[in-house]
Amino acid sequence: MKIRTILAASTATTVLAGAAFAEAHGPMTIGITQNNVGVDSYQTTYEQAFIAAAEANDDVDVVVLDAGGDVARQIAQVEDLIQQGVDSIIIWPTNGEAVIPAVRKASQEDIPVIVTNSNIAEQGFDFVASFSGPDNITQGSRSAEIMCDKFKDMGIAEEARVVQISGQPGYTTAIERAKGFEDRLPEVCPDVTLVETQPGDWNREKSQQVMEAFLTKYDDIDGVYSGDDNMGVGALNAARAAGREGIIFVGATNFSVGYEAMEAGDYWGSIYQSPVDDAEAALQTAIDVLNGEDVPFLNYFDTPKITQDNMGDFTKPVF
């Protein structure tokens, strides 16, 4: 124990802090319940990064659970974690409100709860130690800005028509990104019309179908905003198959397929969001809270704009 403490002390201050907690309590146990790991590679990469980060830190043990997108299962998992007596719980909510009572139960047991990736509703803020994740509303507005700037460059900001392909109905991330985009677009580009929005369910194939219908229905589409790059690439495939060129595609959560499409010059821009950053930030926030450090309540990690112009500054996403 002593050697390990010394080793830890010589590396980083945060780890030092962790070691201090470990000195007093033994290794801290942190439980996480994720939203739906199988559903896309962002969540899978998040899970792997989380486990890797935890393994790299000797003072942390983690219990990793997956709710499979099911609220009931997630609530059961929070109860399980409380019952197992973990030191802290990280939750990636399946529903920003439904988990509030479960979170309250944890806070009544003095277990600090950290919300990750997608926040819970305000009513639950009292029971939460911190939120760590991207700011989805800002992401939506940034996407609107990317699209508007491009239209201005092209000189079509006066008349451009845009369609939106949103994420899985009902998920906070989908709702917030759409809201951010819809609110911001008229502010920056008042003359651009958002013609129609349909959900693509975070699914590339579904989004391709939706886009095919859009293309048939509207002869004039200048831009497509999709809730993530996976769907954006699906829409791009549809446009390519229909031989429609010159459409500006803007997405969010830059997946490697989106990055490649940008390299190829087919896809204009996105929001760079790393699941590794996301996972590490969540774990770090939990450790900081357990060590009694001051943590901002809304602990956003940065998710910058990425377009064909500046993509050289970013490494290609691994997922």
């Binding site: 043990d61 009931a72 609530i75 439904a98």
Partner: protein, 333 residues
């Protein structure tokens, strides 16, 4: 005769044996794999298990009735979501504004009524059109889900009422509210199926519909009643669960039908109708919840959980077939 008696015992008690096996496995495996300090078979953990079984378990009781009757209901997940929306939304309706906390009672009643009505609608269609229940409820699974989205678009419907939450989280005699509901429903359904004319007729109809008709049983009303009951129970499950969680996503309850049917079949109810028991279903529900909880306890990931649960379902069917295997001298068709 002895082997017959043994296989009979195995058939009847198979699900409980399976539960015991699960408990032993997860307790032992948990020693090596789990990070938890508390044992898997901790009393608190087991009480929690009962509570967590409630959402699936309450619906599974209804499914037991419908399946014994020779039908199936694939729309329960969507009914569950609709009832949850009615429950949470109606609490904010202006006409109930003056009621104070009495609004809870109104909302509960409304949600249960809506669930019952949707179930009865399924039953009525099955009865009057003669279309197979599988198709009718496959259709309404889509249609009801459409209604869910129509209600509030893609947004969750939320209304966190702390009185309600406190009630739902309360514990009486060490058992959570949800547990009491599960136990009560199990008891009532058991009573209906074994002690009432309706129950006996449901078995008869499921076993051989023509014979039941010839015996003068009115098949249609019995089927409709069972569909109404499963609709009611799907709504009750929603009432119990969402009283505590206070917010429903429009896609909540998806795949519930899969879990519920799995539990019912694990519990020994025949998919072709005519045989099964609510007590067996109770065992099936516990077995599934135990499996989920146990796999989480030992740190299995989503893919393993899916794989294991699918294979177990098939294995149970296979073992059931082996126990019922006919002698070589029986007719091979």
């Amino acid at each position: 005769m002895k082997t017959g008696a043994l296989s009979e015992a195995l058939k009847k008690g198979g699900i409980w044996g399976f539960i015991v096996l699960e408990l032993i496995f997860f307790s032992v495996a948990g020693q090596f794999l789990s990070l938890s300090n508390s044992a898997f078979m901790d009393l608190d953990n087991m009480l929690l298990l009962l509570k967590q079984s409630a959402p699936i378990g309450i619906i599974a009781m209804g499914m037991t009735m419908v399946m014994i009757n020779g039908n199936i209901d694939l729309s329960v997940g969507a009914t569950y979501a609709i009832a949850a929306i009615v429950l949470l939304d109606s609490m904010t309706w202006p006409i109930f504004a003056g009621l104070g906390d009495w609004v809870i009672l109104m909302s509960w009643t409304l949600a249960l009524l809506v669930g019952t009505a949707l179930g009865a609608l399924n039953g009525l269609i099955v009865w009057k059109t003669g279309v197979d229940a599988f198709i009718v409820t496959l259709g309404s699974m889509l249609g009801f889900r459409g209604l869910v989205f129509m209600f509030n678009g893609e947004n969750p419907t939320s209304n966190l009422n702390w009185t309600l939450v406190d009630f739902a989280e309360a514990e009486v005699l060490g058992l959570a509210t949800a547990t009491w509901f599960l136990l009560a429903v199990t008891l009532v359904v058991w009573f209906i199926m074994t002690r009432t004319v309706h129950g006996r007729n449901a078995y008869a109809i499921g076993d051989n519909r023509e014979a039941a008709v010839n015996a003068g049983i009115r098949v249609g009303p019995h089927m409709m009643i069972n569909f109404a009951i499963i609709g009611f129970l799907a709504a009750l499950s929603a009432v119990v669960f969402y009283s505590e969680s206070g917010s429903v996503n429009p896609n909540d309850g998806q795949l519930f039908e899969l879990w519920v049917i799995t539990a019912v079949v694990l519990g020994g109810t025949k998919i072709t109708g005519g045989a099964g028991s609510p007590i067996g279903t109770f065992g099936g529900v516990i077995a599934i919840q135990l499996l989920r909880k146990g796999l989480g306890h030992i740190g299995a990931d989503t893919s393993t959980v899916n794989l294991v649960i699918g294979l177990i379902l098939i294995a149970v069917l296979f073992i059931d077939r082996q126990l019922n295997v006919k002698g070589k001298q029986e007719l091979r068709i």
